[in-house]
Symmetry: C2
Subunit: 206 residues, 2 copies
């Protein structure tokens, strides 16, 4: 007998402890909690994961997670479609939406440039951002990436790419105000600071 009294139990614990910041003791507690639920509830838990993976879509315009080909923000008539806020991931869209301070649309990169993790410009949605500018008549791109080295690198890369475009009229490139503490992820920033940093955005100076 190994550490666990059952292989089935051990497998489930292994799966949970493969999740970020879930240790083996926590994983065991979560699995034993599920084991105490009704079979239908465990079934619902498992199904929600497989359905999500198989059926989820990504908005063809902004690349946010969506149930439709075009997400509700991109298809809304009440949003300013000439202002695009560039964010790293889905959580960041939700965080900015929660501030209630932003009425433009988004562009979800799906990551940031990080040589140490082997993530280059081609691995994230930068080309698709530059391809949106002319057809959507975008007037302003707001860079809302984390205030980290990787965020700065990505900001600079996007700034250079957008500056190199030949456009009928000049594009405003801004970044959210550095009210966000350096080194912090957007999703952990309080809503007031994050909302203010959107309102107080400043011209990106390269």
């Amino acid at each position: 007998m190994g550490e666990y009294p059952s292989i089935l139990l051990e497998n489930a614990v292994n799966q949970f402890s493969s999740l970020p910041s879930v240790g083996r003791k926590t994983a065991l507690r979560l699995v034993l909690h599920l084991l105490r639920q009704q079979p239908s509830e465990v079934e619902a838990f498992a199904n929600s994961l497989t359905r999500l993976k198989h059926e989820v879509k990504y908005c063809k315009q902004c690349h946010n997670i969506s149930d439709e080909d075009i997400c509700p923000i991109c298809s809304s008539r009440n949003r300013d479609h000439q202002t695009v806020c560039v964010v790293e991931n889905v959580q960041d869209v939700m965080s900015i939406e929660n501030t209630g301070q932003y009425n433009g649309v988004y562009h979800v990169l799906g990551g940031i440039i990080s040589p140490i993790d082997g993530i280059g410009p081609k691995d994230i949605e930068i080309d698709s951002l530059t391809e949106r500018i002319i057809p959507e008549q975008i007037k302003e791109v707001i860079l809302a990436l984390p205030t980290t080295m990787e965020g700065d690198t990505t900001n600079f890369f996007i700034y250079r790419r957008l500056s190199a475009l030949s456009l009928p009229e000049p594009l405003r490139i801004t970044q959210i105000a550095r009210g966000v503490a350096v080194g912090n992820e957007l999703e952990y920033t309080d809503e007031i600071t994050l909302g203010r940093s959107i309102v107080n955005r400043v011209a990106f100076n390269g």
Copy 2:
């Protein structure tokens, strides 16, 4: 649009945040992590849960989680089958096994008496414990329940039930030494303290 950009995403987040001590932000991070994995990996995660729920067994003798009708501890020839350690749950068996200080068998109650949670003696495996004493010629019952009010109540209830049995020879009823800090759960006790408290067990004085 609600808080989440996708109903499928929201469903999965709801499932994760129904787990103990998993908040909605953590749930979202876990779900988005899974979403970045291969479909086969998400499938494996989901399957491990449904298989566990449908196929897991409980040992007919000690009620521990098991892949067989009788668990490896109860079927081992190298264990002392006349000494039974009574614990609240599966984690406690694993904690005591990890000390390497105990060579008897177990009896997993599957809970402790807790009037505030509506858990009475009939809801946990107390009857099946008393029924084991004569046929298995058990000589000692070690009470290893948490050092909480509920643990004390359950200890006392079991002590009275066992004392009322008419047995061919007297049964030794002990409890683990109170080296375990009052108010603590067994699974969070360090192995040295827990191991010593098994070795230094004392007669249960009612």
